[in-house]
Symmetry: C2
Subunit: 310 residues, 2 copies
Amino acid sequence: MPDLDKDYDVIIIGGGPAGLSAGIYAARDRLKTVLVEMGMVGGQIANAERVDNYPGYPDGVGGVELGELMHAQAMKYGLETLMDEVTGVELREGRKVVKTAGGELSARALIIASGSERQKLNVSGEDRFTGRGVSFCATCDAAFFVDKTVAVVGGGNAAITEALHLTKFASRVIVIHRRDQLRATRIMQERAFANRKIEFLWNAVVDEVLGDDFVRSLRLRRLTTDDHFSLDVDGVFVSIGFRPNTRFLKNFVSVDAAGAIITNNRMETGLSGVFAAGDIRHESVRQVIAAAGDGAIAAIRAEEYIAGHD
Amino acid sequence: MPDLDKDYDVIIIGGGPAGLSAGIYAARDRLKTVLVEMGMVGGQIANAERVDNYPGYPDGVGGVELGELMHAQAMKYGLETLMDEVTGVELREGRKVVKTAGGELSARALIIASGSERQKLNVSGEDRFTGRGVSFCATCDAAFFVDKTVAVVGGGNAAITEALHLTKFASRVIVIHRRDQLRATRIMQERAFANRKIEFLWNAVVDEVLGDDFVRSLRLRRLTTDDHFSLDVDGVFVSIGFRPNTRFLKNFVSVDAAGAIITNNRMETGLSGVFAAGDIRHESVRQVIAAAGDGAIAAIRAEEYIAGHD
């Protein structure tokens, strides 16, 4: 016999902007809704000192503060929040069952909004200087580097897009890549090679990020010779990929090669009543506003699904 | 010879949340960007006394105020705003040319965010009581009608979804439909018929909305007999469709049967370098947060398009 306290209309996995926005909409629509988050509510924005590009805050807003504001808004409408780790998801007689370390929950609709993790360099100084010169998002942080020297680590389309974007702000952009050629498309490569602000360091990796209050230099290693050398920079943008947090899903829904969930414009996955929102989606632009938009759509479509299915 | 002052990287048509969010992103990305709006910046939110479901404002925010905040944010990053009416759009040698009453503009990328208009009843009292009992969005306004009597005008899926949603708040929901049967899907109809809070007035239309400070009653007409009668209500939700503002587009991009623009998840229309965002899109949920998310995605994809095309 099911524990009635654990039966919901909607379960949301993940407490970042996508999950919180879904929570605001679902709870305000009077759906019995629980959000499961294993860490801090706010998701990746909690790592951002300041968010300048969330529409509606012309002077910017603190990352932690924005997460707290969204959470307060959702709780005001009755969202329940459970601090727990999701270990698995399955369907049981049409209900969506979410397994956590503390037990099982079930619901009529499920919104997966567990985000994605930036692939880190995993070198000394990286964590310490994150937000102090180390960045994972040129769209977010390029404006802080006007007339500065910055490095971009990576060689794919994302890295070259970041480098080109940075040339609008920085005076010098050095692309550090572990191979001797880029993976980016030919047209992106041509544009990068033609840009006088962009330089390349081939066959090189970052071994350490150094600085005082802020990043000052990188300790690099040339892979072909194993020589170490130093590069003075004011910032470093790490663009070596993302890892969607979909481990607990196993083969539950369709994902792309990188593990990101494939949805249509309605945030529907291939499974009826299962939706995905935010950075966990295929081709997400990884911006707070887009994730929050996704969350609202997912909640509205979840309500329609519930209305039409029982 | 082109007037250089009228050549842009990006032209945005429409100054609602989708266009303003695109403007924030495009201008912050240092793209030379102009937003063309013929009325008041803010779009449909300017009609909302208060927006309670925009994530990040737990106490709500005035509709006009939210539009002004977004506009200030975009202007801070250099967005130009042109008050003019768009009369046509065409491609000329790869550039996107926007014709306005005051002349022509051209750009490398175009973001269409001109929204959609709610189909109105066009009866006496409707405009006067909009925001004072007359609403076009149950998701937005249902919470103001706890234990009240409300009418829903319409018979399609949207109207029945609104009616079902309203039963979670109102004590009595009267669906007024001009025919003797609903257009909504069978399962939606069954749910509506089974709901004890929902009543139906068939073959009836609203001739007038009456009240004092707020809606108090509707003057109705029975189409089968042409009799007039009165119905006391605290609110009326008009759900008889939307009309996308795409008249100026003519066959420029692909639209659905209702005239809404079809895009993929990247906000790309079928035309290279032409994007659409917000309520003008097929299957839009018509919420500020979703429109703003669309706008950000369109601007980011427009920047990528420009980087890869010249």
